[in-house]
Amino acid sequence: MKQYKWAFNWLGKQKYLLILAIIFDIAGVGLMTWEPYIFKDIVDDVLMPQQFERLLPMLGLSLLVGLAFSVCRYLTSVLAEMAAETAVVRLKGALFRKLMALGTDYYRENKAGDIINKCSGDVEVISRSLSFVIPRAVEFVLMLVVAIVVFMRINWKYTLILLLVSPFTAIAANKLGKKIHPAFKKARKQLSNLNAVVAENIAGNRVVKAFVREDFEMKKFQTENQAYKARNIEAVMIWLRYGPIIDSLASIITVINLAVGSILVIIGVDHGGITMGQLTLFLTFAWTLNEPLMMMGMLVNDVQRFRASTEKVQELYYMDESIKEPEKDESPASVEGRLDLEHVTLTYGSTKVLDDVNMHIEPGQVIGIMGPTGCGKSTLVNVIDRFADVTEGSVKLDGVDVRRWSLKKLRRSIGLTMQDVFLFSDTVESNIAYGVPDTDMDNILASAVIADADEFVSGMPEKYDTIVGERGTGLSGGQKQRISLARALAKHAPVLILDDTTSAVDMETEEYIQQQLKAMPDKCTTIIIAQRVSSVKHADYIYILDKGRIIEEGSHRELMKKGGYYYKTCVMQHGLDEAEADGTLRGVMGSALEGGAV
């Protein structure tokens, strides 16, 4: 019931549509019961006494009633559907908003296929419940009440005999409900498993092909596909176990009507029986008792399906957001781009991903960050852009803890390119303008030029109107990275974070991009995370991270002198081994360093 109330709320103001639908439904039932009476009158009052002049008006009346019934029926279906569809739009919209607010932790635990299912299949079940099950339920309850009243007025004892069956029907329906609920849940779960396998197969199609694993994938798929079939059949079988019992019980009513009714007629009214006319009425109206009892099972079935789906949808709708908006936005009016990381520590489970990291970055400074794989570089970006909150310490932008910034404002102030480039299946233009949808073409072009994307985009057949595939497939890694960089630049944010943005770009292009960035008119605080020395060497200051801690820091020059991680990396990257480096490069560089120039 609670769940129905919840679902009902999604109708909002359109509740009246559903109420109207139910009213028309009831009116339809009324008209349907009236119709036989008209034809009874035609037979008794027109045909038998041969008063044919009354035939046409009576037929006209029956037609009107019939027409009215049809109209009611039509309006019921259409209004209910309109109401349900409105609720669907609202509910799906609300779920989408929720999805947009949920953090990385949610997406790590939940598979995309499963989430999609909640937002589509399950919502459709709720919608069907609103448009079909609720009106039907109201209709049947009403029918049952009317039937009982009609029957009671004729002969209450007899009616009680008829109703003897109903408790058994109730018990069977209740049992059905209890058994079928878990079956629906299982079927529902299996559908999401199937969804997940197919979704993964589609997303990983390149790897599947490269490893010729089509057969293996087929097996994985078949397991889930067959299991889905089995779960569905199981649920239907439960229904088929109880449904016939409920139907048989309902059919007892007809039998009692016929056999007991006939015997009562024979006994005669004088001895507590009924008249022939009353029996005919009973028989004519038997279906008003029968049908609701028979449909009870069907309704229980639908209600349980509805409950299973509502549970799933509610699970998502009430999911707690791990990254919350502050109660009050304390961000400054204009953003300069000063970043302070003070004793930043982040723990996942028992491992410290960031361990007491301190950085102070002035507005307009360019910072480089390097470090071995898995050292926490990308996590650092996450705590600045609040994709994760620090466990200890604080990250401050312009002196205000980022947790006290409005999320939107914070993220609008940071231009970010991510290691795992994601482009939307949309035009290049829309992808670059993603953060600033209202921007003009000049900005898009300018950003593309800085990112060195303009040249290859202009070479594409539809230029900036070319649609790129989901995740940017079809573009080379370097091309994707450059579009992603242009996308970050188009925002003109005071802070720019480039997480491994040029790893797939050749050195010359990288150098070109660096020069372009340097020449940008609006100076922004820039953090460059990279594996290549060439990417960070121009930075004002460089941090080296290892196992979540800062192990080296300084300018390129200082770090080269130091001969630590940075120096070693630098030497290796230029294809020299250490002996060679010590012999030649160090010598060259040593003198260069001492000389201060080359």
């Binding site: 035609i42 045909l47 037929l59 029956s62 019939g66 049809s70 259409v78 569809e85 669907v88 739009v89 997406y107 635990e109 989430i115 589509s120 299949g121 199937l194 589609i202 790897v207 092909k209 490269a210 010729v212 694993r213 089509e214 293996f216 087929m218 596909n225 569905n232 059949i233 088929l240 016939p244 048989s248 056999a259 006939s262 015997i263 029996l279 028992s350 071995p372 794989t373 898995g374 993220r411 991510m418 290691q419 994601f422 299946s425 290859f456 649609i467 989901e470 079809g474 890694g477 091309q479 450059r482 996308r487 770009v505 292009t509 150098e511 594996q531 060497k537 990257q573 360093l593 080359v598």
Partner: protein, 602 residues
């Protein structure tokens, strides 16, 4: 290549035709026996259902007038009546069991077919549309179709049989009156004919819009971090609302037309009913008023036949709606099945025998899009066991060249040969099984890290997987994780760093023990020290294998036997590091500029 995005409907080229429908019967045919059994049961239950009114009539007309002595018979007949009802119910139950099983099996079959075909489709298919749209076809559309193919079809044919039987009954009763009953049919037919194109259009639109909704949703789930980073949540929610509203619009339009079917038929039925009365009294008096007595029995019989005649028509009307729905889904499903496979085995293709790894390009031209060559007349000859580095600006065609070696695409002109075999003359499986490809986009499956490595060779032991991980120096970080090799990996490797994902993919590739190894930016996200350890680790493994390495880091490139400098779709320079350095061309420029840069400190 025409690409699709979330708000572009995928229009169908072929209009609705019976051919499509007939084609769907392939799935039905397999379950011929079950369907026939369903028919038999359905006919049996309708016959039983015909018995009960007769029992009722017998009790009321014959037994009640006999008084008390008939009570025993009434009770016996009552029990018989009940048993017939229960019999009908259980016959229907049997029928439902069969139909459930059949429709579920059909769904499973159809889904399998779609999935099998999807495995054959090339990169171009996946690259040119949102993945959500593909997913919808495999899951949702297939679910929607199968129920129609079993229950819908059986009910429709049953309704037709009923129609014929009642028609015959009516004819025997009164041929003239039968004409009156039939008079309503043309009107109904006109309604159906008029609404059919509308129905089809709305339903197709609705299906298209539905697919757009799913595509947008799925893409936004995958790209949620970008959306959040760019604070686009509100705008995207607005776009999503717009898609939902469009979907609603067409769904409702289709509903307006579809829900009209029943009321129209019901109204026609009532008009016919009135016409029967009018006809009996005014037009066919001779037949229906005998000796001044109106033959009420005959009239009501005709009316009840007329009602029974229209009932199956309404059923067919309802099924017609379902048919329209099923058709729009079937068309989408067939569209996937009809998608031409761009790269497939030639009819005469033979298995590629175990190879040495001698790779030749003979004047290869390749175009993704007609008229725009990406690779322009490239020829080279790589001896077995040679290692080749491909360098050059982004988008020059390096990845395309290596993709052609695995025949992920077919060459437009020229030929690619391995050990002298033209790739088009050998089976894809035998070819790709001998190649180890590590692509730019690493992909991690959900499962465990061990599963992901083993993906390279399914029958590899744990020890072999670990050895591969050790070779690429992934062993350390994997052991450092809470559950080591059994650590669960999430969809897309969420939670692993990009470098870690690359190392796992690398181990996977090595495990497959390929003759030809292709590393496309295999270690771009890995730190230099690890990269060097990886190179040392795999150097023994690489001996004797042909390898193609696409990379930007000089340290990776320098150690290769030969270097191809790719620019603008051609090999602009080739030779060993020393040769190219001596040549003082493009490569020299690239290399020295970097060294120079390193030294240029300010």
């Amino acid at each position: 290549m025409a690409r699709n995005k979330y708000n572009i409907d995928e229009e169908l080229d072929a209009p609705f035709n019976w051919h499509q429908f007939k084609r769907s019967l392939v799935y039905v045919k397999k379950y011929r026996k079950q369907i026939i059994l369903m028919f038999a049961l359905a006919i049996l239950s309708s016959l039983l259902a015909l018995l009960t009114p007769r029992i009722q009539a017998y009790i009321i007309d014959r037994l009640i007038p006999q008084g008390h002595k008939a009570i025993g018979t009434i009770i016996v007949l009552g029990v018989g009546y009940f048993l017939i009802n229960v019999g009908t119910i259980f016959i229907n139950r049997r029928k439902s069991i069969i139909s459930t099983d059949t429709s579920q099996s059909m769904t499973t079959d159809m889904r399998t077919d779609v999935y099998v075909h999807l495995q054959k489709l090339g990169f171009d298919y996946y690259d040119s549309r949102p993945h959500g749209k593909i997913l919808t076809r495999v899951i949702n559309y297939v679910n929607n179709v199968s129920d129609f193919l079993t229950n819908g079809l059986v009910n429709a044919i049953l309704a037709l049989i009923n129609l014929v039987i009642i028609f015959v009954f009516m004819l025997t009763l009164s041929p003239k009156m039968t004409l009156v009953v039939l008079a309503g049919l043309p009107i109904f037919a006109v309604y159906v004919a008029l609404t059919k194109p509308m129905q089809r259009r709305f339903r197709q639109k609705a299906a298209n819009k539905q697919s757009n909704v799913t595509a947008y949703l799925s893409e936004n789930i995958n790209g949620v971090k970008v959306t959040q980073a760019f604070a686009r949540e509100e705008m995207n929610s607005g776009i999503f609302d717009g898609l939902l509203k469009e979907n609603k619009l067409y769904k409702l339009r289709a509903a307006y037309v579809a829900h009209g079917m029943y009321p129209i038929a019901a109204t026609l039925m009532r008009i016919v009913k009135c016409a029967i009365y009018v006809a009996a009294i005014y037009w066919f008096r001779k037949d229906f008023i005998l000796e001044g007595v109106v033959q009420i029995g005959a009239i009501t019989a005709m009316v009840s036949y007329s009602n029974r005649f229209w009932a199956p028509i309404m059923t067919i009307g309802n099924i017609y709606n379902q048919l329209m729905d099923a058709m729009s889904y079937l068309e989408r499903i067939f569209q996937v099945l009809d998608e031409p496979v761009s790269v497939e085995d030639d009819a005469a293709a033979k298995d590629l025998p175990p190879i040495d790894g001698h790779v030749q390009f003979d004047d290869v031209v390749f175009e993704y899009e007609k008229g725009i060559p990406v690779i322009k007349h490239v020829s080279f000859d790589v001896k077995a066991g040679e290692s080749i580095a491909l360098v050059g600006p982004t988008g020059a065609g390096k990845s395309t060249i290596v993709n052609l070696i695995s025949r992920f695409y077919n060459v437009t002109e020229g030929a690619v040969k391995i050990d002298g075999h033209d790739l088009r003359s050998v089976t894809l499986n035998s070819l790709r099984q001998q190649m180890g490809v590590m692509q730019q986009d690493t992909f991690i499956f959900s499962g465990t890290i061990m599963d992901n490595i083993r993906y390279g060779r399914l029958n590899a032991t744990d020890e072999e997987c670990i050895a591969a991980a050790k070779a690429v120096h992934a062993d350390d970080f994997i052991r450092g994780m809470e559950d080591g090799y059994e650590t669960e990996t999430k969809e897309r490797g969420e939670g692993l760093s990009a470098g870690q994902k690359q190392l796992i993919s690398f181990a996977r590739t090595l495990l497959s023990d390929p003759r030809i190894l292709i590393l496309d930016e295999a270690t771009s996200c890995v730190d230099t020290n690890t990269e060097r350890l990886v190179q040392e680790g795999i150097s023994t493994l690489l001996k004797g294998r042909t390898s193609f390495i696409v990379a930007h880091r000089l340290s990776t490139i320098r150690n290769c036997d030969r270097i191809f400098y790719i620019q603008g779709g051609v090999i602009a320079e080739e030779g060993s590091h020393d040769e190219l350095m001596a040549k003082k061309g493009l490569y020299y420029e690239l290399y020295t500029s970097q060294i120079r840069e390193l030294l240029a400190l300010d």
